[in-house]
């Protein structure tokens, strides 16, 4: 541990100030979720709740209305889990293989293909809604969880490929060459040489994909309906009411519930992320 010099002090001060900027909205959300509606109406955004009133959380989870069903966010939560896990898994795996190919099994024109794939990242998703709906309808996948997973995999793989490719490019070619000379083929090299050191990038990729897919609203509202709707759609229904009374505390509680899995993923994965980095990467 370094000693507390004036420079270190300023360092900590700066970090603390920025911390306020980042924490403030979360504080507002959490404290509002514990207040009663009267407190919210009469009080101040930053004031502490008079008492920790968990009623809003109860309602948000199990009894708030999201349409004619008033079961809170609970049913949507499981829909999202069912959808996110396969989507993240498949797109990450595909990205890993693609990245491996683009990094160490290049062929003529592969750089162009990679760029082409990347440009595809930027397509505004609203553009694909109608044609994709038509296609999914043809295959009978409209409004199913499978269809939604498919859409997320299709549009998420470009980014996962980018992550893995950039990471694998840092794996020295000599290692791959050595393995090839030893007679190993495409899949064996992947399994024995590349995969073991892929920890950090898997973590980054999973964080990114989980966040993107869990928080996605547009595909969820359009490609799933009724019972298969993900939690973002449920949250949106809960929070938005066009001609009714807003229950701010329930809305905030619901927003936090919807965000908990991603927060958890960050917490858990974050630790492995840095551990993976510092523990061991490839040395030439």
């Amino acid at each position: 541990m370094k000693s507390m010099t004036p420079a270190r002090f300023i360092l900590y001060l700066l970090l603390a100030l920025f911390m306020l900027y980042y924490i403030a909205p979360l504080y507002v959300m959490v404290s509002t979720s514990f207040k009663t509606l009267d407190e919210i109406r009469s009080g101040n955004l930053l004031s502490l709740p008079h008492a920790i009133n968990g009623a809003a959380w109860q309602r948000a989870w199990s009894s708030a209305c999201t349409g004619t069903t008033c079961e809170g966010l609970q049913p949507f939560f499981w829909n999202s889990i069912k959808m996110v896990l396969p989507a993240v898994g498949i797109s990450t795996l595909l990205g890993a293989f693609n990245g491996y190919v683009f990094a160490h099994w290049r062929f003529r024109g592969s750089e162009w293909l990679f760029t082409g794939l990347l440009v595809g990242c930027f397509i505004p998703f609203q553009v694909v809604l109608l044609p994709m709906a038509g296609l999914l309808g043809q295959f009978g996948l409209a409004n199913t969880t499978v269809g939604l997973v498919f859409v997320h995999v299709v549009y998420g793989t470009a980014f996962t490929t980018l992550f893995f490719r950039n990471y694998y490019v840092g794996v020295p070619e000599e290692l791959i060459k050595a393995a090839r000379i030893d007679g190993a083929g495409f899949f064996l090299i992947f399994r024995k040489v590349v995969l073991p050191i892929s920890g950090p990038i898997f973590v980054v990729c999973i964080i990114w994909q989980f966040t993107q897919i869990w928080n996605d609203f547009l595909f969820g509202v359009v490609f799933a309906s009724g019972e298969a709707q993900p939690i973002t759609v449920g949250l949106n229904n809960l929070v938005n009411t066009s001609t009714g009374v807003q229950e701010h505390n329930v809305n905030m509680a619901a927003a936090i519930i919807a965000a908990l899995p991603t927060l958890l993923v960050y917490l858990v994965a974050g630790r492995y992320f840095v551990r993976g980095l510092t523990a061991g990467a490839v040395k030439g």
Partner: protein
């Protein structure tokens, strides 16, 4: 320096090229096709679901489509209508302002925080979590929370007034000229932590030996950062720019939740324009034209960027 760099721990986003020579035996031919086969599904789906749909949108932008697709040919009338639409130009200008500020400030802040955190701080893990968690929240949540905080009569301004600073004004949210800047504040808040994480990983990937050698040579800390660290982070910069541009251009949920494009249409952005005109207003042709313009802007900005990255990688080897 190059040799030393190759011996360092693999940094996360270090791009490089290498050429492998292969002898043409049967086994090698087989080996040669496997990579292409592996890429096959992804490339095929990209061709169909990305480029195919882009082509479809391009065609729709040349039709008089209203609520549903209609495949008559109508020439460039949608583009003429688009350029005649004041709201489109406002949206485009807003994207420019928001994009530049959002990316610029996020990179600066992310880098700054990464450098600070790299100094072996106590509680680094906790601080990192604090800076990073906003990314976990959906844009809808972020927009709603910041909408509250920046609201003059409910949020920051009121808090300041309650504290006694009655002359404090912060009405950017309701000011047509300043509303777009509130989107920058919320956007930077959300994404700078992730940028910081990427930069931190990049920083950690730089070999300590080089730094120590430079210190032995008498270089000061700022100089070390300027001449060794930051140049070595170039690949990370490119990835960060790519990710941030992606977020900036697609910004839809955040703006909707924060200002809904308002006051009036003062903070409208192209993504909102396209969505509303295509779906709510039943002007699919016009919406498609705006989508093509968005894509054109993206290509104009990104292709040079990616070309530069590919070229600089070739140069580094």
């Amino acid at each position: 320096m190059q040799a030393a760099a190759r011996h360092c721990r693999a940094p996360l986003f270090h791009s490089s090229l290498s050429i492998t020579g292969m002898s043409m035996s049967l086994k090698n031919v087989f080996e040669k096709t496997i990579p292409k086969l592996v890429l096959g599904p992804t490339l095929l789906s990209s061709l169909l679901f990305v480029y195919g749909f882009i082509f479809l949108t391009a065609y729709l932008s040349l039709t008089p489509s209203r609520m549903m697709p209609n495949f008559e040919f109508a020439g460039l009338q949608q583009y003429a209508a688009l350029f005649d639409n004041e709201r489109w130009w406002t949206s485009l200008a807003n994207l420019g302002i928001f994009g530049t500020l959002f990316i610029g400030i996020s990179v600066a802040l992310g880098l700054f925080l990464a450098i600070l955190l790299d100094q072996k701080i106590r509680a680094e893990g906790a601080l990192r979590a604090v800076y990073l968690y906003p990314m976990a929240l959906s844009f809808i949540v972020t927009g709603t929370a910041w909408k509250w905080m920046l609201n003059p009569s409910l949020g920051l301004e009121k808090v300041m007034h309650d504290c006694g600073w009655s002359s404090f004004h912060f009405d950017w949210l309701v000011n047509p000229d300043m509303a777009i800047y509130t989107v920058v504040i919320a956007g930077v808040w959300q994404s700078s932590g992730f940028v910081m994480a990427l930069f931190l990983a990049g920083l950690r990937g730089i070999d300590d030996d080089i730094i120590k050698a430079a210190q032995v040579d008498g270089a000061s800390l700022p100089t070390i950062y300027r001449r060794i660290v930051i140049p070595a982070m170039r690949p990370v910069f490119f990835s960060v720019l790519l990710i941030l541009s992606h977020i900036a251009i697609k910004s839809f949920d955040l703006v909707i939740a924060l200002t809904a494009g308002g006051p009036g249409n003062a903070s409208s952005v192209p993504a909102i324009f396209m969505y509303q005109f295509s779906f709510t207003r039943g002007q699919l042709g016009l919406g498609s034209a705006s989508a093509m313009m968005m894509l054109a802007t993206i290509v104009a900005v990104l292709v040079p960027l990616m070309y530069l990255e590919a070229r600089s990688n070739k140069a580094m080897r």
